[in-house]
């Protein structure tokens, strides 16, 4: 393989991995405050379609991204209202968000399937993804507010006793997660694809959830995990392109199989998971009890 090919592969990996980084770092912040949002896939799809439709209608890229992020805030805000105020089960509510998001995005996007757009240069977002990971890491480990976020995820009872508003902090964490998922979706429909197609995220939202476990809830490790996945997916495409005589479906399984294998390796160390997961993850907070 000559150096140009290698460079080309690296480019493709960077471009393909960026949405995973956005979605995973968003979910990581949500989970750090003690909330599990399984709606990543749904929020990504709604983010993707709202950006795409806005772009087609207005022609403005900036507006497209703004509308997309707004959609992420609305979707995650709905989730937040249910789990924080109405104290619904986080797992079930996240699933509902994904089912709702899949339906809503297909419904809105139906007339736009096949509409051509001019894609945006992805490198701005590739760099942005690295910057966001760095900022999140700085926020958690170098600022007082970041410490409060971690504290709320660790013990909402202690946080409440010290006078921190558990609901407000968690709301911020959930909304940030929603914005990042929408950003990941809009990047896919406007830069990566660039087009709209039903279910175009193809399980990336779920892989992002697995990446948070892989990263053992440490922001920097999101990058490592995401790029391993990105590498595996691109590798299978290349192997296919190089004409290995093997049915394509088996190559396409690679990201999903890789996710499972990674989960097995990371999770089998029970102690490590126990020590790194936010202690109050998925446990609802009842004020005044």
């Amino acid at each position: 393989m000559n150096i140009d090919v290698l460079f080309g592969v690296i480019q493709i990996i960077l471009i393909a991995t960026t949405p995973l980084v956005f979605a995973a770092i968003g979910e990581l912040v949500t989970e750090k405050t003690g909330v599990l949002n399984l709606g990543v896939e749904g929020m990504m799809l709604v983010g993707a379609v709202s950006a795409f439709v806005t772009l087609v209608i207005t022609g403005s890229y900036i507006l497209a991204f703004l509308v997309s992020i707004l959609s992420g805030i609305l979707m995650s805000g709905l989730f937040a209202y249910l789990v924080l105020i109405l104290m619904s089960n986080q797992v079930a509510t996240g699933l509902a968000l994904t089912i709702f998001g899949i339906g809503l995005s297909s419904m809105i996007g139906k007339p736009y399937i096949g509409t051509p757009i001019t894609g945006l240069n992805p490198y701005f977002f590739v760099i942005l993804s690295f910057i966001i990971v760095f900022l999140v890491s700085y926020f958690f480990y170098k600022t007082k507010l970041g410490l409060i976020f971690r504290a709320v995820g660790e013990s909402h009872d202690s946080s409440h006793a010290l006078g921190y508003s558990v609901v407000k902090i968690r709301l911020l964490g959930i909304l940030f997660g929603g914005s990042m998922c929408a950003l990941a979706g809009s990047y896919m429909s406007i830069c990566y694809a660039p087009m709209w197609q039903e279910n175009m995220t193809a399980g990336r939202g779920w892989i992002a959830l697995a990446l948070v476990v892989f990263a053992t809830w440490k922001p920097g490790r999101i990058l490592i995990g995401a790029y391993i996945f990105g590498g595996v997916s691109i590798l299978q495409m290349n192997l296919q392109a190089w004409g290995l005589n093997f049915p394509g479906q088996f190559f396409n399984m690679a990201p999903y199989l890789a996710t499972m294998i990674v989960l097995i390796i990371i999770s089998s160390n029970r102690l490590r998971i126990k020590l790194s997961a936010p202690a109050s993850l998925t446990i609802p907070f009842f004020k005044g009890r």
């Binding site: 007082k144 410490l147 409060i148 971690r150 504290a151 660790e154 013990s155 009872d157 202690s158 946080s159 409440h160 006793a161 010290l162 006078g163 921190y164 102690l271 126990k274 020590l275 202690a279 005044g288």
Partner: protein, 502 residues
């Protein structure tokens, strides 16, 4: 400045099922230690949570330093120079001491400033701290030290201490009292919440007694004895409980030889060479400060977590250390773990359904996997009746019972199985005095009929009252055993603090 630092006037607070505070009024004099005395459920915690901004009162007024105090949150309370040390620490286990201190102060403080201030406080009050240690590596006493330093960083005028001694050794209690005296000399005021009578007499200047949410008395402590305080606190006299040594037989029922387990987990305590013998009809107590291996030992004895156990646990000469809880029950061993809700009972299920949790060879609750609903209901009724459980009936959900009634139900369920050995952890934790008395009495009755009982408890008074013999667990090691009639409190205290057997 007026004589009173705090005046509480007609505070009322009710919850859906109970009235926690009813027209509570009393004053706290500046620069005194004021005791708030009452048994579990008397409304002490509710009152101080209102004071600290964690709960809102339905009615009433609080005056602090001559102005009306309306705190909406703990940080406002702290701005008003009110600090609180919680009974169940408000610390974050996986964060470091430094991070925990930062979380407890409201103003922005630079790193070196914080360091200096912590050092100064540590020296002045003799409260040494390792700032980089994660909280989960600290003992209960050290955790409390972190809480106190965190409050002192705010320089409070009024310090609220909520049952501060419940997790300390007698020696640690003494050094806590020294710290409190230093604080008093500096002109601060302390509101001391407790249900321990001796502490009130030894430490406090004034006392307010709460019963069922109402103030029974608020006055200077003169001529009060433990008995007079107890009568006021409980509203009645309870008969004394007496242990009976005459029914103990020489036959050894359970014998543990070098029982050990290693977890490799910073949240758990490894157990090292636990050895003891229990005779038929004997009540054996295990004392110790929380977090020294009690729950790990309990799990070994019940069979709930036994992966990697070594040594021997002989019950009537059969080594049961690898037996499951079910297999142990088949040999007529019964257990009552510390937590009622979610461990010895399922809150979402009815009392009848909760009967099914522990099945013994004699119980006739199922037939080839089919539940016999009639029999479990009859059994539930029997437990309710024999142990005076206050509840509408066997169809009530476990979650609807008060702590004391649910504990009576759980212990009754186990006792009715006529066990040969009963292993029980913290039998009267967090329940009212009436239920506490009834439970202790029923354990003594059970032992008289030949059952061996192991009681694991942090409550020294309880162990001294009901056990025949006791050992102390410290850092996963069990001391040799002592006759309860002979061992002194200070000796137990030293063992709880880690002194080796002579």
């Amino acid at each position: 400045m007026s004589e009173n630092i705090l005046a509480i006037k007609n505070i009322s607070k009710s919850f859906p099922k109970v009235i926690a505070n009813k027209n509570v009024s009393f004053n706290i004099k500046r620069n005194t230690v004021h005791a708030l005395l009452g048994e579990n459920g008397a409304g002490k915690s509710t009152l101080v949570k209102i004071l600290y901004g964690l709960l809102k009162s339905d009615e009433g007024e609080i005056t602090f330093n001559n102005h009306t105090l309306k705190v909406q949150s703990p940080s406002e309370a702290r701005k008003n120079k009110i600090g609180m040390v919680f009974q169940h620490f408000s610390l974050f286990d996986s964060l470091t001491v430094r991070e925990n201190l930062i979380l407890g102060i409201d103003q922005n403080m630079s790193f070196s400033n914080l360091q200096d201030k912590v050092n100064e406080i540590s020296n002045r009050y003799k409260l040494p701290l390792d700032l980089d240690a994660p909280i989960n590596t600290l003992s209960a006493g050290q955790k409390q030290r972190v809480e106190i330093v965190r409050i002192l960083l705010q320089d409070p005028e009024l310090l609220i201490m909520d049952e501060p001694t419940s997790v300390l050794t007698p020696q640690e209690v003494e050094s806590l009292f020294e710290t409190l005296n230093t604080l008093l000399k500096e002109g601060r005021t302390i509101l001391y919440i407790t249900h321990k009578l001796e502490e009130v007499i030894n430490l406090c200047h004034e006392v307010t007694i709460l019963r069922n949410g109402e103030v029974i008395e608020s006055s200077k402590l003169v001529n009060e004895t433990a008995e007079t305080l107890a009568t006021k606190m409980l509203g009645k006299k309870l008969t004394e409980i007496k242990t009976d040594y005459s029914k103990i037989t020489p036959k050894i029922n359970l014998s543990s030889k070098n029982l050990s387990i290693e977890f490799n987990d910073p949240f758990l305590v490894d157990l090292k060479n636990i050895s003891f013998d229990i005779k038929e009809g004997e009540i054996f107590g295990i004392a110790g400060v929380a977090g020294n291996g009690q729950s790990e030992l309990m799990n070994l004895l019940t069979g709930e977590a036994i992966d990697g156990v070594s040594g021997e646990l002989d019950f009537n000469n059969i080594d049961i250390k690898n037996f499951s809880p079910k297999k142990r029950r088949d040999m007529s061993i019964a257990f009552v773990p510390e937590n009622r809700l979610g461990h010895s009972a399922v809150p979402e299920l009815t009392l009848s359904e909760n009967i099914l949790l522990s099945q013994f060879p004699a119980s006739d609750f199922q037939n080839n996997g089919m539940i016999n609903f009639k029999n479990i209901e009859v059994q539930a009724k029997k437990v309710i009746e024999k142990f005076n459980v206050v509840t509408p009936g066997p169809e009530a959900k476990a979650s609807s019972l008060s702590g004391g009634n649910l504990q009576k139900f759980v212990i009754g369920r186990e006792i009715l199985s006529k066990p040969k050995l009963l292993i029980i952890s913290h039998p009267t934790w967090g329940i009212d005095a009436g239920a506490e008395h009834a439970i202790r009495q029923s354990l003594i009755e059970l032992a008289k009929n030949g059952t061996s009982i192991i009681v694991i408890s942090q409550d020294l008074d309880e162990l001294i009252e009901i056990t025949h013999r006791l050992s102390v667990i410290f850092n996963g090691k069990l001391s040799k055993s002592y006759d309860t009639r002979e061992i002194s409190i200070s000796k137990i205290g030293l063992l709880m603090g880690g002194q080796q057997d002579d």
